[in-house]
Symmetry: C2
Subunit: 329 residues, 2 copies
């Protein structure tokens, strides 16, 4: 397998990106293609022991920065690491592309300039893979499409369901539609119009409306929402988890006995944190474009990048793209 890693993706590129690529090459033995400024990538690689690893560098002279406007930079910076990297996948020279770069930039470069959409797919969807207690939940869309039509949501469900099954190994993934109540008939106009389409869709294990608590408890394997609502859900889960953790920590530090207790309980906190740590997932797929694209957080560290490569491997091994081409033909 040949996997492209964008060396110029993360907030602190190329350090975490290159180190993550090295870790991935060492763990799985796949061929890794680092795309980015050759001099900077070489300098970074020199800091690691790469003996016996299969790592290649492909030069790209430009970078789509986190602060760049996606549409403009995707159009202007045609030799960016995103263009070059996804170009390799498009041309069959690599099997997957992994980046922690500007999400809007990836979306624009993938959709408009390189991979394009899988024929029949109306809108690509950004996803998150939640690492909840029970396992994984695939969420789509989390921000590519702020306003959606029912048919888009139906396609997101089909794509996310295939990903959950083929890449994550979840049999007959349960698909829920995020709503403000579980009962049939609850929801905004979009949800009410989407529900009947979901119910009638073939090959979809649709379980009806789900509320946030069902998403978090693992009552569904896939949760579908428009990109605006999905983004709010994702960010409120992240913000709340962070707040509760900080609150407990500050209350523990407020007394001597509780501080001692906190020290003794520290391994439990660390384990709890790791069980819902996004770094353990690394990245999630951009669904609907004609090739495997895995997007990680801008603040990804090397471990997150390595795990994003692991995610890409699962998608390639599962034959996700081939299955989607067949489904939407």
């Amino acid at each position: 397998m040949r996997i492209v890693v964008d060396a110029m993706g993360s907030d602190n590129y190329p350090g975490p990106d290159v180190e993550g690529a090295v870790l991935a090459a060492r763990e799985w033995g796949d061929e890794i293609i680092l795309v980015g400024d050759r001099n900077r990538v070489e300098a970074e690689l020199a800091r690691h022991d790469v003996a016996g690893l299969n790592i290649e560098i492909v030069h790209a002279s430009q970078v789509i920065e986190m602060t760049d406007k996606p549409a403009e930079s995707a159009k202007a910076k045609t030799d960016s690491s995103m263009h070059v990297g996804m170009g390799l996948v498009r041309d069959g020279k690599a099997d997957a592309y992994v980046t922690a770069g500007n999400t809007g930039g990836v979306l624009a470069v993938a959709t408009l300039y390189t991979l394009k959409r899988i024929p029949g797919v109306r809108r690509p969807a950004l996803t998150a893979i939640y690492p909840f207690l029970h396992g994984y939940t695939v969420a789509a869309d989390i921000g590519a499409n702020a306003d959606c039509r029912p048919e888009y949501l139906l396609q997101f469900a089909g794509m996310a369901s295939l990903y959950a099954e083929l890449a994550l190994g979840i049999e007959q993934p349960r698909v829920g539609l995020l709503s403000n109540g579980e009962e049939e008939g609850k929801g905004n106009q979009l949800v009410k119009e989407t529900a009947p389409l979901m119910r009638q869709a073939e090959g979809l294990n649709y379980i009806g409306n789900v509320e946030p608590k069902e998403v978090l408890s693992g009552a569904t394997d896939v949760v579908i929402h428009d990109g605006f609502t999905g983004n709010i859900l994702l960010k409120s889960i992240e913000a709340t988890a962070s707040m509760v953790r900080k609150l407990i920590e500050s209350e523990i530090r407020a007394g001597l006995v509780t501080t001692l207790g906190g020290l003794l309980a520290y391994p439990a906190f660390r384990r709890a944190r790791r069980r819902i740590d996004p770094d353990e997932i690394g990245g999630a797929p951009l669904l609907g474009v004609n090739g495997v694209v895995i997007i990680g957080h801008g603040r990804s560290n090397a471990v997150a990048i390595k795990n994003a490569v692991g995610q890409a491997r699962k998608a390639v091994q599962g034959g996700v793209i081939e299955a989607m081409r067949a489904r939407f033909k």
Copy 2:
């Protein structure tokens, strides 16, 4: 001050409702009017020491149950504790109405059959008051209007801002519009159309788009969203806080040393929990109807009911309804 408490509101009525009313009468010395089945309320009251308290019972022969369909039951059960209770407020015989009952029922009875809307208000809004680390954040709408127009959101902002200022004592409350990005121009169609109206509105301290992390960190005093999105935000905050707590507890119990640490740190956990405990708020206002209505959780206990009465007192003392009548005239 005379405050009506719905004796038949909570999931376990009339126990928590009556006990909460007793606690409130004792704490603040106000006159409390318990509305509900006289026999059941009297039996419940007999279990408490009410000597010297100013508690009256007004009979209502019907109950809008949690399982009732709001529109139907609001129309059919015209002698419900909701009809009778809000009727007392409408007729000037009481200053506020507090209930832990069927939210949709309250909304329907208030809007269509008793208090009606404040003239000029297009849609009433359900609210939540978040008890975050920094103080309070008022959120509207959390479910009365799944689909909204920009003008509704603008009115929600005006109403929630007045409430934050007059009832909660927050000077020049900062008003944020929930979006999937802080930058101007981010958002779905509704947010994009609402933002300019907010910016131009007089008497509104509008601070722009806010994301969930700003809501949780106290960067805004008021957060405005359509009822669908607001409901998802509220429920995802609740579900995540609960999940993180359970996760930490289970990891602590997984080892002997960490269990000991957890026991020592227990007071800190209890303090942390109390700082974000909805029972400490008790209830939040239904904004836009022509009288003070405070709605609590169905699972309210007596303390929550008492605090909901406290919330009603603040709304009455702050002159919230009079200010809204003036604003929307």
